[in-house]
Symmetry: C2
C-alpha cells in the first residue's frame, strides 16, 4: 500500500500548534478522555445503571470478547516493532496478563468466564460467529493502526487505559448492585485490570511524554488517542443500534436465545 493511500487510511490529524510542555501534553491527553472516553456513552450508562435486560448484557459480553481476544495480538504487533529488550520486557507483560501462564489463566480466560457467567456456551463465544461486523471492523482497525502507524502513535493509542480505573469501579459497583444475575466472581476480570491498567498506562504515558518532542509529534499522539476513543465508541454505537434502539440486529449477528449454555436455554431472560 502506498504512503498516500495509508495517509487516507487514517484519522485526520489536526494541524500542530505550539510545543506543549510534558505536563501540558498530559493535560491535553486527559482532556480527550474527559470528552470522548466510552464511559460517557449512553450504552455504558444503561449498563452501569441496571437499565439493560439480561440479553442486552449478553450482547455486550459477547461482542467485547472479540476486543479482549485481539488485545494480545495488538500487543504482539507492537512488541515486534519495539527496538530494544528493555522496552520489550515491559510491554510483553501485557501479553502475559491477557494470555496467562497456563490453561485457565489470564484476562481472556476471565472474560470467557464472564460470558459463561451470563449464560453463554464457551465454544460459541470462542467462535466469534455471533459478533457484530461493526465490532470486528473496529477492533481490526485498532490492530492495523498499531501495525502501520509510527511507534509513538501505536503507544499513544493504548492510553485509554489512563481512564479505565474510573469506568471499572463504576461498572463493577453498578452491575453488582443492579443485576441479580451478576456475581463478583463473574466480574473477576475487572479486579485484575484495576492494578494492571494503571501500571501499563503509567509506562505508556511516560513514553509518549518523552518521545512527542515536536508540535507535529504531539499532534500525532493526541490524534492517536482520539482514534482509540473512536474504536471504543463505535463498538457501543453498534451495540446500542442492534440491541437497544432502534434494535435492528444485522443479518447473522447474535439473537437472544442463541449460543447459550444448555443449562440456560429456556431460563427466563
Amino acid at each position: 500500500m502506498t504512503a498516500a493511500s495509508l495517509a487516507l487510511l487514517s484519522s485526520p490529524v489536526e494541524p500542530a500548534g505550539r510545543l506543549l510542555s510534558p505536563d501540558e501534553l498530559e493535560a491535553a491527553l486527559r482532556d480527550i478522555g474527559a470528552r470522548r472516553y466510552h464511559n460517557l456513552h449512553p450504552f455504558h450508562r444503561l449498563l452501569h445503571d441496571g437499565k439493560l435486560d439480561k440479553d442486552q448484557v449478553r450482547a455486550w459480553a459477547l461482542n467485547r470478547y472479540y476486543y479482549q481476544a485481539m488485545i494480545p495480538v495488538k500487543d504482539a504487533t507492537l512488541l515486534a516493532r519495539l527496538p530494544d529488550a528493555a522496552l520489550r520486557r515491559i510491554w510483553r507483560q501485557r501479553i502475559v496478563d491477557h494470555d496467562g501462564d497456563h490453561e485457565g489463566d489470564g484476562g481472556i480466560e476471565r472474560w470467557l468466564k464472564l460470558a459463561e457467567g451470563v449464560g453463554f456456551d464457551r465454544d460459541y463465544v470462542l467462535s466469534t460467529t455471533g459478533i457484530l461486523s461493526a465490532t470486528r471492523f473496529s477492533v481490526e482497525a485498532y490492530v492495523h493502526f498499531v501495525g502501520q502507524r509510527s511507534l509513538l502513535e501505536a503507544v499513544a493509542s493504548s492510553l485509554t487505559e489512563m481512564f479505565s480505573p474510573t469506568i471499572i469501579s463504576e461498572r463493577v459497583a453498578g452491575m453488582l448492585k443492579n443485576y441479580d444475575f451478576i456475581t463478583r466472581e463473574t466480574l473477576a476480570y475487572f479486579d485484575k485490570r484495576l492494578t494492571q491498567a494503571p501500571r501499563d498506562a503509567d509506562f505508556a504515558l511516560d513514553y509518549v511524554k518523552r518521545h512527542a518532542t515536536t508540535p507535529e509529534l504531539q499532534a500525532q499522539a493526541l490524534a492517536a488517542l482520539r482514534f482509540k476513543c473512536s474504536v471504543l465508541w463505535t463498538q457501543l454505537d453498534a451495540l446500542y443500534f442492534a440491541y437497544v434502539a432502534p434494535g435492528m440486529i444485522p443479518p447473522d449477528a447474535w439473537r437472544p436465545g442463541e449460543g447459550l449454555r444448555a443449562d440456560f436455554v429456556g431460563s427466563p431472560a
Copy 2:
C-alpha cells in the same frame, strides 16, 4: 502478523459442503445478495422513498464519499496481486473508471459533484474529517481484506456489483421523484455505474466460477461475498444510528450545518 492472528482477523467461513456446479455456485452467490445486499437496509428504503430530510441525505452523501474514494485504492491493491497482464488489463479499467482520464473526470469526481449538489463544500468532503468512524473502519476492513486474503476471496468480495443495477434504478427513480433538491445532473454518478458495474461483475463472476473448484474454495468465495455485504450494511447501520434513530451523532462526526457551501449556509434544510 501471524497466520493464526490473521485467521482470527476474518469473517468466519462456514464448513464446506459438497462441490457445487458453476451454476449452483452462481445461484448461491445471488442468494446471498437476495438476503443481505444493502438495498434491504431500512436506511436505503427511507432514502429511496423520500422519507429522509436534506441533512440525512447529506450525511449519506458525505460518508459514502469515503467509500468511493477508497475503491481505486482497493482495486490497485488487488491489481498488484494479479499474476498476468491479461487479468491486469481488465481489472485496471475499474481504476480508470473511478479516477478518470483527466482533472474533473471519473467516478470519484462525479460523487463529489453529488455531494456538492446537496450542499457540501468540496474541500470539506475531500478532507473526510466529518465522516463516521464506523464508515472509516468498514471501508478500511474492505481494503485490508482485499490485500490479505486469497485472490479468489478478493475477487469474490467485489461481487456485490452483481446486485447494484437494481438498487441504482430504484435509487435514481426514487430520489428524483421524492426530493426537489436532487437533479439528474447531481446523480450522474449512477448513470455510468449502470453500464460499468455489470461489465465488472460479469468478469468477476466468471473468474470466481472458474477458480472456486473445491468445496473449500467455494465456501471461501461465498464467505467473501457475505463479508462484503457486511461492509456495506454496517455503513448504513451507522448512518441510521447517528442521523435517523436514535440520532446519536458520535463525537467529531458531521453535524447538520457544518461543511456547507457558502451559498447553502443558512438556506433551509
